[in-house]
Amino acid sequence: MAVARNKIKSIGAAQSPLLGAAMFSPAILYILLLVGGPFFLAIFYAFSDARIGNAEMHFVGLENFRSVLQSPSFRIAIRNSFIFTICSQIVVIVGANILAISLERTFRGRGIIRFLILLPWVAPISLGAIGWKWILDSIYSVITWALVAAHIYKPFSAPMWLGEPHLAIASVLLVHSWRLMPFSTVILLAGRTAIPKDIPEAAAVDGAGFWRTQLQIVIPMMRPIISVAVLFGLIFTFTDMTVVYILTAGGPFDSTQTLPSLAFAMGIQGSDLAAGAAISLFLVPLLVILAYFMLRVAHRAEVN
């Protein structure tokens, strides 16, 4: 059946390869020039001593990678990138599953609730992050006020949320999770509404309780869609520098630096293009792995 369909498809579709090529080549050319070109330029810079404001450039081999790997800030950055990405995804996927279950039913005011829940994702992230910066302010933080009011801390002795390394890391994690939870929720919700209603109902008739139905039937059926949500979530968090840049600018003492934010600090603010390019290239291996899994999900969806 599948074979027969493919044959018909290829006969019908290969109608005007020339016109087709004329129609897609401007877009392909643009992508090759402005995504492909810069990508190779980044590799090229990483093996050179390019600096902003210096036209001359020499090949220096692996020198940049060596000095980057030896710098303590880089080690912190790579550790943080993984901590932020993995921990926030765990928080997000648990939260998003719970939220998707509670949003699945229809109830009055569902539209407004959905709008409010979506705000962190749909509003520009730099603006959401500056909102958090105010909430986590060193003096006028509403969280600090609440903790003092609850007599957990004495006035003026409460911690500075963005000023101490561990708390700053926790704050960045919090904002990443906050930002991505709505995105995963709507994707999971789309997956849930695609499951035929009679399957969970049949399970309920057979005496399976709510949790058993969810854990043993619904969630396994949603595996492809959960992997889509997780893959995008990992990519968005791993490659983001906005949250860190706005909240802490990598501080205190580089303790919240991530690969992208360190690349910016070295490559643009520090004018050392070569070092910045070398740091950002460390994003590539994980991106390749994630892209591979993304392709597998897409391929499986195509086969089914």
């Binding site: 290829s10 579709a13 290969a14 109608q15 005007s16 390869p17 016109l19 087709g20 004329a22 129609m23 897609f24 401007p26 877009a27 392909i28 643009y30 992508i31 402005l34 995504v35 070109g37 810069p38 990508f39 330029l41 980044a42 810079y45 390019a50 902003i52 109830f107 959905r114 709008f115 409010l116 829940i117 979506l118 705000l119 962190p120 749909v122 509003a123 520009p124 992230i125 603006l127 992050a129 500056i130 909102g131 958090w132 105010w134 509403v142 006035p155 906050w178 939870m181 997956g191 492809p224 992997s227 889509v228 490659t239 520098m241 840049y245 910016f264 643009i268 991106l287 897409a298 969806a301």
Partner: protein, 282 residues
């Protein structure tokens, strides 16, 4: 029976509690922007005041400051200008390409389509360093044209992907019939396919525009002067003078810039999600 009813009531209570908690956690920063925007400085910066309440009369001072003493309106204009230009470029590149890949190029087109989707996964944080040199080489530093040149790198791949799915859902017989009636293949695309794809194209317009308003890394890297900022960079960077944060104006600006974007995005959400789910949901 009574057990069933009490269980249902319990279920309702848990449902309300869970939804309520999540909604408050997720929406709180925006509520906080709202209340901060209308508080007098005296009220904002007195530590003994309960920050959840107005301890002094609400004020419009921050809004007045924002619209008269800062470049906020200019940033809104810049963002709209770049947004419109990028939408136009994206449509010109993505609509024909998506149609060609969905219809004219067979399996080859499908593979190319997936390849294009993968370029969407190449993040700005990988490309901003080499692109900053490209922009400098073209003499576009600190110009909105730099953003107009570069932003389609992330809007075009995703738009092609969204539109490919859309074009595939149009029955082939429609075009065949139009071609039997004497239209060329390209004529059928212009006169038939585009008009019936208006809603798909509109989705791309909205998606592209919201992506432009949300972008941060390129705007931060390429634009330096205050008057050329986009909202995403101007508000967090230029509403801070030295170490002084104008929190009232800052929060008002965040809210005013966020809400319209959030509202429009919300209207088209289901279609964007269809693009993200790469066919994992039918």
């Amino acid at each position: 029976m009574a057990k069933g009813i009490s269980r249902r009531i319990w279920g309702k209570v848990v449902h309300v509690l869970v939804l309520g908690t999540f909604t408050i956690l997720l929406a709180f920063p925006f509520y906080w922007m709202l209340i901060t925007s209308f508080k007098q400085n005296l009220d904002l910066y007195t530590m003994e005041n309960n920050p959840f309440l107005f301890n002094a009369r609400p004020t419009l001072d921050h809004l007045k400051f924002l619209f008269t003493e800062t470049r906020f309106v200019r940033w809104l204009g810049n963002t709209a200008f770049v947004g419109v230009a990028v939408v136009a470029i994206t449509l010109l590149l993505a609509v024909p390409a998506a149609y060609a890949l969905a219809r004219l190029s067979g399996r080859w087109g499908e593979r190319l389509g997936i390849g294009i989707f993968l370029t969407y996964l190449v993040p700005p944080t990988l490309l901003f360093i080499p692109l900053s040199r490209v922009v400098a080489y073209l003499g576009l530093q600190d110009s909105l044209w730099a953003l107009i040149l570069v932003y389609p790198t992330f809007t075009v791949p995703f738009s092609i992907w969204l539109l490919m799915g859309f074009f595939k859902s149009i029955p082939k017989e429609l075009e065949d019939a139009a071609m039997v009636d004497g239209l060329t293949r390209f004529g059928a695309f212009i006169k038939l396919v585009i008009p019936i794809s208006v809603s798909g194209i509109l989705t791309v317009v909205i998606f592209t525009f919201t992506l432009v308003t949300q972008e941060f890394v390129y705007a931060l890297t390429f634009i330096s002067s205050e008057s050329n900022q986009m909202i995403g960079t101007g508000i967090p960077i230029f509403l801070v003078r030295g170490d002084v944060y104008y929190w009232g104006a800052l929060m008002a600006a965040c809210l005013i810039a966020s809400l319209p974007i959030a509202f429009i995005y919300n209207l088209f959400l289901d279609r964007f999600i269809a693009g993200f789910t790469v066919g994992a949901v039918k």
